[in-house]
Subunit: 535 residues, 2 copies
């Protein structure tokens, strides 16, 4: 256990791993006491039960009589990443989902949303007010883009630095609990996107505490997390504890692990295998299934193979190939990673086998890529025609409806929603919301802002002729991403929405996931006429 745990009698247990410190003292705000030294347990762990401190108290840790920092395992950062941590009583929320027993993964129809941009208010509670809408659409699982505390109020979420703390500007711990509770009340599962491959650059106070990071491996986003070097056991524990907290304290049904190709672990027991094992063995006690879904660009079935076959034992993984095959086929795009895609046969392969790049040469990667997923049940692959990355990592964040005519948009929707895999919709695609989803941040460090701007400009240098790149730091960029859900009843938007609703209804009726597996349904591809039929 790491963090602050109120014990209910006016005392709180504080426990932190700080092997780089010889002494750790607790500084409590608005408390007349001098800094309270924590006892050294050994192995770099410090802890003490402190009286007169309860939920709501704000604190920092002072390391070796020097500077004081927020708690790496902070449950709440009420004033943001640079402020103090706050003691949270995870037991005080009154849950109403006692009847909830989770949902089989095969029934997941996923709706990915960004809490900040989904509603004008940008809060967990405001999402609750839209659950009627989502129920009308018919999706069965919400997937929240990362909510771990990030710097400022506007961020995709992948710059989080407190992997246990729901974003303050979204509504903090109570807000997230209310949202999950409300979803469960409507029979909807909730997936949380969690980032364990790096921590954000601003508000990252972990370095003075201990070797959370390593320079042995590089990630595109910052220092790799130390999963296999000296003193990595407590780092692994930190990450596993974070994952467990989301599932246990916040009742989340599944975690979407961001970019596991940035999780480097050469040890004999891979952190992902250990994480899966630790989460899955909680299922019985929780009385519901808990799923781990990886985002991976490795096209490696070991991610989802069971341990006895040498796999990590995760439950599912994203299949970008489906997206790329579908998009390249429908739009004719061939730049970047689309260079490997475009044929009708690849689309058929994506339906039939999952990975399109299954060991052959990739022009984009300039090497052979992937393994075959022909043996993997389709219910273990998540597919989509849009997601935050595929929309947002275009220079302007423009959506497919700007490039596809209505017929092709519908074709894409049907391909995803009737596929034997798990479908994912990105917020707004169901009625072609005109809002783009550009990259946005609200860092406090001007140097960092400049670096992000420069990085994005470099990334999109060859697209600059298409117009000016939105400034990630500018609030209007963020505002442009906000949906206008009201449009879903208007004109062509409304017709598309009705089409999505009908596809989802049909999916629930047909249950393609299990029917494909049982051989009741099959694909028939007519290469010449480019017709893919489900029979």
């Amino acid at each position: 256990a790491l963090g602050a745990f109120p014990l209910g009698d006016g005392c709180t247990l504080f426990r932190v791993w700080a092997p780089r410190a010889r002494e750790v003292a607790l500084l409590i705000e608005e408390d007349a006491r001098p800094p309270i030294p924590l006892a050294h347990e050994g192995d770099g762990y410090f802890s003490s039960v402190v009286s007169g401190v309860g939920p709501g108290a704000r604190y920092r840790y002072r390391l070796d009589h020097g500077a004081a920092f927020p708690d790496p395992a902070s449950r709440f950062q009420p004033l943001g990443v640079h402020g103090p941590s706050q003691v949270v009583d995870q037991g005080c929320y009154q849950w109403h989902d006692g009847e909830w027993r989770g949902m089989p993964l095969e029934r997941y129809i996923i709706y990915e949303l960004h809490v900040g941009a989904f509603t004008p208010q940008g809060t967990f509670d405001a999402v609750i007010s839209r659950l009627d809408y989502l129920a009308e659409l018919g999706v069965t699982a919400l997937e929240l883009m990362p909510v771990a505390q990030f710097p400022g109020e506007r961020n995709w979420g992948y710059d989080g630095t407190f992997p246990f703390a729901p974003q303050n500007s979204y509504g903090g711990p109570e807000g997230l609990k209310r949202l999950v509770d409300a979803c469960h009340g409507r029979g909807m599962a909730v997936i949380l996107d969690v980032v364990y491959n790096h921590l954000g650059p601003e508000g990252n106070y972990l370095h003075p505490y201990g070797p959370y990071f390593t320079d042995r491996y590089r990630t595109p986003w910052g220092d790799a997390v130390n999963f296999d070097g000296p003193d990595s056991d407590p780092v692994r524990h930190y990450v596993i504890s974070s994952a467990l907290q989301w599932v246990v304290d916040y009742h989340l049904d599944a975690l979407r692990l961001d970019a596991i190709h940035g999780i480097f672990d050469f040890g004999a027991r891979h952190i992902l295998g250990e994480l899966a094992c630790e989460l899955h063995r909680r299922q019985e006690a929780l009385g519901r299934p808990v799923y781990l879904i990886a985002e991976s660009d490795l096209n490696d079935t070991r991610v989802i193979l069971p341990p006895e076959r040498g796999g990590h034992g995760l439950d599912a993984q994203w299949n970008d190939d489906f997206h790329h095959a579908l998009t390249a086929f429908l739009t004719g795009e061939r730049s970047g990673y689309y260079a490997d895609f475009g044929s009708f046969g690849q689309l058929v392969k994506a339906f039939e086998q999952g990975f399109v790049l299954s060991g052959g040469y990739s022009v984009f990667r300039r090497r052979r890529h992937g393994s075959s997923s022909a043996d993997c049940p389709p219910s273990r692959l998540v597919v989509f025609s849009q997601n935050h990355d595929q929309v947002g990592n275009r220079m302007a964040g423009d959506r497919p409806h700007e490039r596809l005519d209505p017929a092709r948009l519908r074709l894409a929707a049907a391909a995803v929603l009737l596929s034997p895999c798990l479908p994912l919709i990105f917020m707004g695609e169901e009625y072609a919301d005109p809002a783009p989803f550009p990259y946005f941040i609200s860092h406090g460090d001007p140097g960092l802002v400049a670096a992000v701007r420069e990085g994005r400009r470099r990334e999109f240098a060859s697209f600059m002729h298409q117009g000016e790149m939105p400034d990630p730091q500018d609030e209007t960029t963020f505002r442009s991403a906000r949906l206008d859900l009201g449009l879903h009843r208007v004109g062509e938007h409304g017709r598309l929405f009705a089409f999505y609703r009908e596809l989802i209804r049909l999916r629930k009726e047909l249950l393609p996931v299990s029917r494909f597996r049982d051989g009741e349904m099959a694909l028939a591809a007519d290469e010449g006429r480019q017709i893919l039929s489900i029979v």
Copy 2:
């Protein structure tokens, strides 16, 4: 195919992968012709059949009208790493081992030797002259420390930069063939130590040719080899071709893969799995088994598990834990990696299960380490009480007989040679040769020499009170490592030699590897009296 291939009619095919060059021209020494441009095949490969060039011709490649470099796939560097490459006709050697069908791995009793230090001459041919001695000892397999061309004449071998070229000062291609042939003539297998985790710092001319290396991962010895980045397919092909050449052209029976924990590959198909697959499928055509034996400090059974269980499918791996458990128990040493060892129970575990560190906490590594090898047949683990690293990576390269009394020395020998695993002896240990095995080099670059000296000094800083560290570059350091095989008949040396010979005879009679597996033999450990019996 990469390299120069004489076609027998006065023509030679030259083929090189040089994606960083737009033009490649062949420069032949003592040839009046101007540089001969090679044709670009595409994908960075250049090749041409050139007439008037045969075996023995010396050549370089000129890249883009600039500097000329030796061939990365050179079969021979007659003048060393900085000189030209030489065309070799691999078919001209007259082999005498047509009857050789290899040897089952279980019968390997391995003798590790350094070609340069084993005899006063330091050549392959001089090793042949000692095969009578080795036959008398009774070992069944020679393991040669790396012979791929390294800078200078004195080197452990791990600084090689031409993975296809046997060291010129050892006798080059013909010399190695004569040695392997002679071994086979005596029923002895030959293992070659090959280094695919990095290439040496001096005489490494690969950079101008192509992206052989990557900065995504770090090794302690230099840039990691690019096994999973852009353009890694040809790099993988280069390494696999090297391994195949040793087996096919040099008739080697097994390869010992140096430090595979420095081989980084996050792709869906690990280079080691591909290498094993490529080598093993040659076995039928070769009419003999081919083994891959890994040095690994990962304690990870995936190295030797079959592909269907998620493993790389190698045949065996070194088990350092056996050495550490044995040494710590017998000597009482507890510094460095011995911190995790010392108990009798660990020695028993090393016998019974293989890995001692099988997932528990390692004090030395400051994290949990390893997986259990209890399920692995003992014949897939190589054990030793000495090897080049365990002797040589002490400050003075001093051997165990300087710290152990004769009884303990014999105990160590018996533990190794009667173990259910594959035993390995390090040259000279069988008669306690007084020669140390210190680290030695003969680099031509003074800056590099200074860096190596400094690195070794730093490594052994805490041992400096034990005396002066031998200078790696000084020739006397190398000379001190030379064995005096004549001693094996003298006094206590002779008695120890007779004991080793008897143990080896006994091992051949008892065949502990298969008997342990079949349950015919078993271990009985008396913890109280610290007696380990084989019954």
